[in-house]
Symmetry: C2
Subunit: 149 residues, 2 copies
Amino acid sequence: MKQALYLDDLKVGDTFVSERYQLSTEKIKEFAREFDPQVFHCDEQLAEDTFFKGLAASGWHTASITMKLLTESLPFAHGIIGAGGEINWPLPTRPDDILYVKSTIKEIKPSKSKPNQALLLVESETLNQKNEVCQKLTAKLLSFRKSEG
Amino acid sequence: MKQALYLDDLKVGDTFVSERYQLSTEKIKEFAREFDPQVFHCDEQLAEDTFFKGLAASGWHTASITMKLLTESLPFAHGIIGAGGEINWPLPTRPDDILYVKSTIKEIKPSKSKPNQALLLVESETLNQKNEVCQKLTAKLLSFRKSEG
């Protein structure tokens, strides 16, 4: 268990690197069957003739795996609570991919109405085993001062 | 099966409304165990003392359910292929929620390099049974001319 980090402990430029996550054909299809049952996420053969030219994970699957890796790599006090953000998928993730996430605090915006809180802008890149960026997420995350706890 | 819509068939202001999706405590916990194992998504009792004051679905779970509803309500030819977008969660989704998605085409940007393609800006609001907006997603989606197919 990493030590919980409060707003007082954080500064712009702080970086966090996650563990690795092994994707697979079965995981891609299982997520797709439940949440994104499109042919390029569900069927290797039929996926060949689509935009993706082969089986690719749903972008929301990549986002969910990223969240899992963030819960293990961003030890923020009170948890990772996101108000929203901007997400981009420059490349799809594939069955053989081994993914990891690099996060950097880009900005710390103190709350005007709540002196014990701030909004962090955290940029998280999800990379594959070739270090290609498959997803870029800039999330607005809540951070709390120690006194608040 | 709805008729597939090509770029030629779409215009700014077109709207699409999805079916309803019933959330549940078990679905919230199941998603959370795999992708977002934080206490406010996993344990009703412990969630009471957190920011969310009760069990809430992961934002990425809400996003994934939204995607499922979009695959059923946006009949775009060649599927729903997203380059990215902006996502915000004004309210968490809860075990009893019945969710649906209203989508509107806000902008159509023809591709400069690929005359058969355009990027659609599609705003999708995910609402609960009280018609409260729980998620707002503005996605960049690919659209193709009929000739391309």
